[in-house]
Symmetry: C2
Subunit: 128 residues, 2 copies
């Protein structure tokens, strides 16, 4: 749950073209040209987007002849799911418990709040 990784992952996902590329890759590997095709955009622009996605760890690239097939790498998405998971108590908590939650020691440390508040059983136990 490194901060830099989250920075890069979130920043990469902030662009709709890049999210569309990931959506495409979710259905299987694709070459750069295949990824260029659906977009009204030049190949260098897509290559730049791919570089951003790669540096964020969201994709990896192999080699097959002269193509560089792109594959989706789920790890950063998992990290994001985990990060967002720390806030799920905010909307999972039932109405009458909401205030208690707001008072309770919730995620607090800049960038690594409370990793133990994920499961649907919403246990309140935690450190610090």
């Amino acid at each position: 749950m490194n901060s830099d990784e989250l920075n890069r992952a979130f920043a990469a996902l902030a662009d709709p073209t890049r999210r569309a590329i990931l959506a495409r890759l979710a259905s299987g590997e694709a070459t750069v040209n295949q990824l260029v095709e659906p977009f009204d955009m030049t190949q260098p622009s897509i290559s730049k987007h791919l570089k951003v996605l790669e540096q964020a760890g969201l994709i990896s690239r192999g080699r097959a002849a002269q193509t560089r097939p792109c594959r989706l790498e789920p790890a950063p998405l998992q990290e994001i799911a985990q990060w967002v998971g720390m806030y799920t108590t905010l909307w999972e908590a039932s109405f009458d418990r909401l205030d208690a939650f707001l008072q309770a020691p919730q995620p607090d440390q800049p960038d690594q709040p409370n990793p133990a508040a994920r499961a649907p059983g919403h246990h309140h136990d935690q450190q610090q």
Copy 2:
């Protein structure tokens, strides 16, 4: 699951200062000055961050005397959780099923892939 909302939410979360602000707000409302305090940063800079968070819908602000208490708004986080959720099949799938998944019709439409692939039962049924 509007694209612009996701753009703003992801972009807002790409900054560690803003994520730290959210972490702080997860434990309850706070005034601007209270949010400034833990950071080695000027008040106008924090106010700017708050504006970004507000425009992303991640926080809202009330009025109490001359303070403007900030409150965390979970809706965009829920949208992100939902968006990421569409990719969970990629790592929930067991090893021997992975290839099948990569062949199967997965999230594809730019920015609104397959909303029906969330639950832990990982059902393969879906449209198109």
